[in-house]
């Protein structure tokens, strides 16, 4: 008897677990999963993971949702570098959170591995479906199914410090128009001395390179990643011109001395402190720039070397419901709420961030400031690169793209660096596809 009773506990737990698993599995296979007949705002406890790059942004959304709903979302912020690891380990042990955000460039990995629940019908049922940022929907789709929606939309642009422009005798209303201007202005601003540099670059950061270097080449008409992420093209004249400029900026010490070891962690700090003249980065620092009163700043689009065209990297994060979530309906309630006009305008746009819907780019906050308007308008020329092993090849600090950047900037031969990088990245794409 006793032994029988002892075993019943674990068995019934196992039975419940098996039942839950089979239900989750059923849920995964049906297309219409999340919406149930009842009210999804039933006081459920939801968990959500985001990377540290979006911490305050996500926190604002979660706080506002928790305040106005019975459901409560508990947000966990994970350091950027550890995100893949943490998600990988959690996926292996089936302990993913209900809502999982992901850097757009990693998303193809997750959709392919089945980490997200299929939410195609829910997303398509939204009245503003056609206005949701298509760049994000594309990376969140796999084999014609949608697995996530935009969480944060950001876009890379070229910032400059108007005060330093004035001091260096430049017109603060005339940002650089091409690569020759950038070099010329950088020299003039660096000449001010006092630890001020004309430019700042991150020589050990693959993600930074993708975010701010790819748009120069896109603007110059290069596709970079094509054929569904199976082909790469970095061994071309556009990238030669880009690295020639950056190498010159580094060689002439027109950048902060930390450039070689800069892994991105403290990259914007010098510009935000008013010590850097020009910095290519993205909309995520606009919030900080709007808050500071030390200096006047301006913004322009990232341009092709000759300045004839512009482009941008549309980055950011998507959020989806994990395949193992026990509260898909409630999780969808949260995701849907973040896409509503109120959250998009009154929380996201109000803080200087970009709305994730094209029909809202003209909202009162974004349109009020010509700088945020310029960033929002630039989205139409933007790209989001797609490749299955993107993180491994481009973001990985030990990967081939970082090696290419470093060889081109600090090695003797740009042509050879690009040829080597092209071969290694293509080999990585071949191995993964």
């Amino acid at each position: 008897m006793a032994s029988g009773r002892r075993w019943r506990g674990p068995l019934s737990v196992a039975a419940v677990a098996a039942l839950a698993l089979s239900m989750a599995a059923c849920g995964g296979s049906k297309s219409n999963t999340s919406t149930t007949s009842g009210n999804p705002d039933d006081g459920s406890q939801l968990t959500m993971w985001v990377r540290s790059a979006t911490d305050q942004f996500s926190q604002r959304l979660v706080d506002a949702y928790n305040k106005s709903h019975k459901n409560k979302v508990a947000l966990t912020i994970i350091p950027n570098d550890n995100y893949l690891t943490k998600v990988g380990a959690a996926a292996g042990s089936k302990s993913l959170p209900d809502i999982l955000a992901s850097d757009v460039v990693y998303t193809p990995n997750y959709t392919k591995q089945g980490l997200f629940k299929d939410i195609t019908s829910d997303v398509k049922a939204l009245p503003y479906f056609s206005n949701i940022a298509q760049s994000h929907i594309t990376v969140a789709s796999y084999q014609d199914k949608i697995y996530a929606v935009p969480h944060k939309l950001d876009s890379s642009v070229f910032f400059y410090n108007k005060d330093l422009f004035k001091k260096a005798g430049l017109d603060p209303e005339k940002p650089p128009a091409n690569f020759a201007d950038i070099l010329d202005y950088a020299r003039k601003i660096t000449a001010l001395g006092n630890g001020i540099t004309g430019f700042d670059l991150a020589g050990s950061c693959g993600g930074c390179g993708v975010y701010t270097l790819f748009p120069y080449a896109w603007a110059d008409g290069r596709e970079i990643l094509s054929d569904g992420g199976k082909k790469v093209d970095i061994n071309n004249d556009s990238f030669k011109a880009i690295f020639k400029l950056y190498k010159q900026l580094s060689d002439e010490k027109l950048v902060d001395s930390s450039d070689k070891a800069q892994d991105g962690a403290t990259w914007p700090a010098n510009f935000l402190a008013g010590k850097v003249g020009m910095l290519p980065l993205g909309s995520p620092i606009v919030g900080d720039l709007l808050k500071q009163t030390k200096f006047q700043w301006g913004v322009t689009a990232l341009m092709s070397p000759d300045g004839s065209k512009t482009s941008t990297f549309i980055g950011g994060d998507v959020a989806g419901i994990s395949a193992t979530s026990k509260h898909p309906a409630q999780a969808w309630d949260f995701l849907k709420w973040t896409l509503d006009e109120n959250a998009q305008v009154e929380i996201i746009a109000k803080n200087g961030d970009l709305p994730g819907r094209t029909d809202l780019t003209g909202n009162k906050y974004t349109a009020a400031d010509p700088r945020t308007k310029l960033i929002a308008d630039g989205l139409k020329n933007g790209h989001t690169p797609f490749a299955l092993p993107f993180g491994d090849l481009f973001n990985n600090p030990n990967g081939p793209w970082v090696a290419t950047i470093r060889a081109a900037l600090y090695g003797p031969d740009i042509d050879k660096a690009l040829a080597d990088g092209q071969a290694k990245i293509q080999a990585g794409l071949d191995a993964a596809n």
Binding site: G88, A89, G92, G114, S258, A261, D392, N396, P397, N398
Partner: protein, 313 residues
């Protein structure tokens, strides 16, 4: 080897009853002994042997994160031979182990000389040298990362205000500088432990030996060569095993401080393994690397133990 002598007493019974009782006790002993070790055995099996078996199985499969693994024979091991990052990591790890073992000894000996002197304040030095050891490696590495930064760090500021440099050094900019920075961190953090162990060893050598040597007219060097070093032999053996094994498994300091850079020049075997598993998600190949590392460590420790034993004789 020495087990044969422990039960020698049982062979010479003085009284039949006693012998009988002993025999019964001896027969019961294995079972009782097994019961005593059972909890530990269960823990070892559950937390070490089973995961180890899974790891070995993993190394013979293509193991994705979510889908089912498919066995692929020895492909993972074959791929290792062509993996330049893994081969480079092995070379670097051996180099790092050699450097760090020697440097740690040199610095520790100097510190022992200071901390062992009868002068006032030697207790203070002992504590001061040991303190960094109580900081976690990851925390210490983060400290070093901030401190070696060009604009935030205290190292550059100190050197600048001392008038030694005009421009920031860029402590992590080149492979050699990055290696130097890591070594300085490891020495700062671990030398205190090395010193304490050596100090205990030195103080356990009887003072009379030195007195006798001095009476016989031995020089300081002779005292070191014929009394101190032979007396420290077991201590040195222990420290060498710890230092070599620890260095071969080095991870935290490189992961936090250099990410294996610049240009993958400071990539250790464990870091390469970690990257393969959690950056590239090639779990099968990472498991194969882990198995190779495990075998290498076992071999190395067997060799070290052998050398240690023959020295004792």
């Amino acid at each position: 080897m020495s087990l044969t002598t422990t039960r020698a007493g049982a062979g010479t019974p003085t009284d039949a009853a006693v012998a009988q009782r002993r025999k019964r006790a001896a027969a019961r002993r294995p079972l009782t002994g097994l019961l005593f070790v059972a909890p530990t055995a269960a823990i070892v099996a559950g937390l070490f042997l089973v995961p180890l078996a899974i790891l070995v199985y993993m190394s013979f499969t293509d193991w994705p994160l979510l889908a089912n693994p498919t066995p692929n024979g020895v492909d993972n091991y074959k791929n290792l031979a062509d993996d330049s990052q893994f081969i480079g990591a092995i070379t670097f790890t051996l180099l790092y182990t050699a450097i760090i073992t020697v440097v740690l000894y040199l610095v520790a000996f100097v510190m022992v000389a200071i901390a062992n002197s009868p002068r006032r304040g030697s207790r203070f030095y002992r504590t001061a040298f040991f303190l960094p050891y109580v900081i976690g490696t990851a925390a210490a590495s983060t400290m070093w990362w901030v401190d070696s930064n060009d604009s935030l760090g205290v190292f550059n500021k100190a050197l600048k205000s001392a008038g030694l440099i005009d421009h920031p050094v860029g402590f992590l900019d080149t492979p050699n500088k990055a290696l130097f920075t890591v070594i300085s961190l490891v020495v700062w953090k671990f030398v205190g432990f090395q010193m304490i162990v050596l100090l205990v060893g030195v103080q356990s050598i009887p003072g009379e030996l030195y007195e006798a040597a001095r009476v016989d007219g031995a020089t300081t060097f002779q005292q070191l060569r014929y009394i101190t070093i032979p007396g420290l032999r077991p201590t040195l053996a222990l420290l060498t095993v710890l230092s070599v094994t620890g260095s071969l498994l080095a991870f935290d300091q490189f992961y936090v401080l250099t990410h294996g850079g610049p240009d993958n020049s400071t990539m250790t075997v464990v870091l390469a393994l970690y990257n393969k598993a959690f950056q590239s998600f090639r779990l099968g190949e990472a498991a194969a690397e882990a198995v190779v590392l495990l075998v290498a460590l076992i071999l190395l420790n067997v060799i070290q133990m052998r050398l240690l034993r023959s020295r004792e004789k």
